[in-house]
């Protein structure tokens, strides 16, 4: 039996066939609908690339399974990242205070910064112009939780979760909070389109003019 098969192959390829264009041997006995195959070896660089990826993989798996390296175990990686972030923030904190004193911020700076935060964060619930949406209207004189800066500061820090207002303690810096409060105060009486009906109680500010209060507080804060 076996010789039969061989003879068959032998008959087809009495001598070694060569591809004329590249001068490479053709595989004997292989012809499929006119397609032939050459006897080229694997390109060496490809072979070594393959070996290199295998070595890399072995090393990677050993790092994980044997050495339990914290660059691969993601819980540890996360802890490291958080610890580093904390360390960096602590380092930077005092310097930042020193720098900030030197910065003189005008009323416009404060309101511009406040508006930026407002558009990014508050507008989603309180409307683009503070007209109120799911959250209350900021442009009228009525406040549900009080209309003073202190009241609003508390709301931003603590939230009113039963109404859907979350705490922004970890998302906004002290300056950003103060600025956005100033911006919210600047909205009073702007009469935007589609205002939400007033909610809460009418708030009458104390004698101290609003603008003056802003600047002093911000200076202290900085």
């Amino acid at each position: 039996m076996s010789t039969l098969e061989e003879k068959q192959n032998d008959n087809k390829q009495p001598e070694v066939e060569i591809d004329e264009v590249t001068n490479v041997k053709l595989i004997g006995g292989h012809e499929f609908d006119g397609i032939r195959e050459l006897e080229n070896p694997l390109p060496p660089w490809l072979k070594y690339l393959f070996y290199a990826t295998i070595v890399f993989s072995a090393a990677y798996l050993i790092l994980l399974f044997v050495f339990k390296d914290d660059s691969i175990i993601q819980d540890l990686e996360y802890q490291k990242e958080m610890a580093e972030a904390r360390g960096e923030l602590e380092k930077e904190a005092p310097e930042e205070g020193v720098e900030a004193v030197a910065v003189v911020r005008t009323e416009e700076d404060i309101l511009a910064s406040g508006e930026k935060t407002f558009t990014k964060i508050c507008a989603v619930c309180h409307g683009k112009f503070g007209e109120g949406l799911v959250g209350p209207n900021f442009t009228d004189e009525y406040w549900i939780h009080g209309g003073s800066r202190e009241d609003q500061y508390k709301i931003i820090i603590n939230g009113v979760i039963e109404k859907g207002m979350i705490s922004y303690k970890n998302q906004l810096s002290e300056t950003q909070i103060q600025d956005v409060i100033s911006y919210i105060h600047s909205l009073k009486g702007t009469n935007p389109p589609n205002p939400k009906a007033p909610e809460g109680e009418k708030y009458v500010p104390e004698e101290k003019p609003e603008a003056e209060k802003n600047t002093t507080e911000n200076a202290v804060d900085a």
Binding site: Q8, I35, E37, L38, I72, Q74, K120, L133, I161, I166
Partner: protein
Amino acid sequence: MELQKFTYDNKITRNFAVATMVWGVVGLLVGLLVALQIFIPAMNFNFEFTTFGRTRPVHTNAVIFAFVGNAIFTAVYYSLQRLLKARMFSDLLGKIHFWGWQLIIVSAAVTLLAGYTTGKEYAELEWPIDIAITLVWVVFGINMFGTILQRRTTHIYVAIWFYIATWVTVAVLHIVNSMELPWSALKSYPVYAGIQDALVQWWYGHNAVAFFLTTPFLGLMYYFVPKAANRPVYSYKLSIVHFWSLIFIYIWAGPHHLLYNSLPDWLQALGTTFSVMLLAPSWGGMINGLLTLRGAWDKVRKDPILKMFVVGITAYGMSTFEGPLLSFKTVNAISHFTDWTVGHAHIGALGWNGLLTFGMTYWLIPRLYNTKLYSVKLANAHFWIATLAIIFYAVPLYIGGITQALMWKQFTPEGFLMYPNFLETVSQLIPMYAIRAFGGGLYLVGMLLLVYNVVKTVQAGSFVKEEAAEAPALKPQSKAKTGSESWHGFLERKPIRFLIWATIAILIGGIIEIVPTYLIKTNIPTISSVKPYTPLELHGRDIYIKEGCYNCHSQMIRPFRSETERYGEYSKAGEFVYDRPFQFGSKRTGPDLAREGVKTGRLYKPNAWHYNHFIDPQKMNEGSIMPPYPWLAKKDIDLKSTAPRIRAMMKLGVPYPENYEHKANDDLLKQAEEIAQNLREAGIETESTKEIIALIAYMQRLGTDIMKPVEEETVEAEDHD
């Protein structure tokens, strides 16, 4: 030896070729639609059946299973007969295969648009269609192996190795991933939950890329490239080495779709390492394809078919280089959930699958119609348009993806997120999306040129339905390996043995990765505070799946500072044990929702906000690209289906109290009324039985279980499921 006369069946090839072009146009057209929808909400037409969450799966399914699928069958039915010197085993099976497949495609499009989806990417089709696919696939298999066994050649050629591996692996992947328990005529829940579901799904998903988009196209390449170039294949030895290493290694790489997810580290490491080891075997295919053109490069300059093959194979080389790159965790930390992945996928789809299919079609149609191609010039134009289109498509997505990822990760010196509002990072992408849509449109124009050219060619020629051929009968084979025969040479004349070896090669990786997650409890530590969904939340979850929310929203917070600062505590494996199907998602066109319901979290929104947002997202966020879902406020929750849903879940092991299916609707109505009442307090008048209430209930449940203060996390083994 006496020559046997027989004919090749060209009709089946022609039919598949026509279907390829028809579905190609449809798939690309829907692709263009979704490319516009993603940045123009009005393109969703405010209509549930044409909303992105439903049209995007139609696009992916149409392109993968209809366009590429039919292209595979065109190639197989043409090349198999000629490589084996035998007519197809059965004309009838061929017809059943053809019409069965087209019927599956049509039913897929209809059911997906109607909202029947399993919620698992590239496996969205529901259980009756899953069964139909299995049957048609078996018919295809019988027809293919029947032909192989009736062959008149001693050995089977490398293209056929790839066809065999394709057939067996797709069968295994499809059957295992589609294991689901039906609870209605068109809906089911998967037998896997959470992490296991994700693992099985991406073992499937990744290998759908491998064994539906890659191996059959390597087979196609091994036939049509040497034919078109009239050159021998560069290296037989390389064929052997890269074939076996490719099919063995590919199957392991699935977990790279879940890097930094709450998948055990060892699984992620296997995903990374096997993806890296896949580079050389993949490039083996590219090199064997490109170097086959050695001595024919002067032809390549003139022939649009060869040009398409060259760029297609190069695109394959690029995306298989990029694949391992994206599997490094450091790269994946940036690329995952962004448009980078989408760009990567389209280099493969538009470049490799598209251009190879086009080249094949230009080569094939004139031969089937015994004429010349109507216009080589037009084909050349198609080549340049398609190549440009790929660049216009992919480059903006790379830029956009990386930009967005960096914005997500940017902190201020004070330690706050620089861009806490997700929308800010989306607004940056709009111009990129516009350019991408232009690229997609351009690619469609090229496709239309092909159709025109083919129609003109067909009109000029006459169809050769039966192509006469002759060959001597296959001589009796030695059962054992002969002395001078190589091990592989022997295998090449033993197709069943070849099939068995290929099956073993593709089973190993899957078994080693999937089985331990069931046997070793520490892989998915139990969290005792995680409880099954309430009936209302379950309905809401099923609506979330029906509307395809997972196409744009992930539910998987990765363990990065930038993600925990934005979304809250990172996701844990034990949180998903009742998620059937899992909904981790693979793209964040919108923000992650894994902790949406956590009241102390970063993303919490009150019921009223959700209500308004579902009805009109742009009212709440001016620049939002989310489509509106007003019908949710009009449609009633399907209360009749509560019992079958709960019963199916209980059968799958979800610990609802005994006979709970009868009481479930009482609980449902009570919870719904609470939400409706809360909405009324906020000034929204609504009935409590509307779908929107269920979806809000689900939103408010998301991610809350592990935040419950009373019960602590227990890592110890405790039986669940």
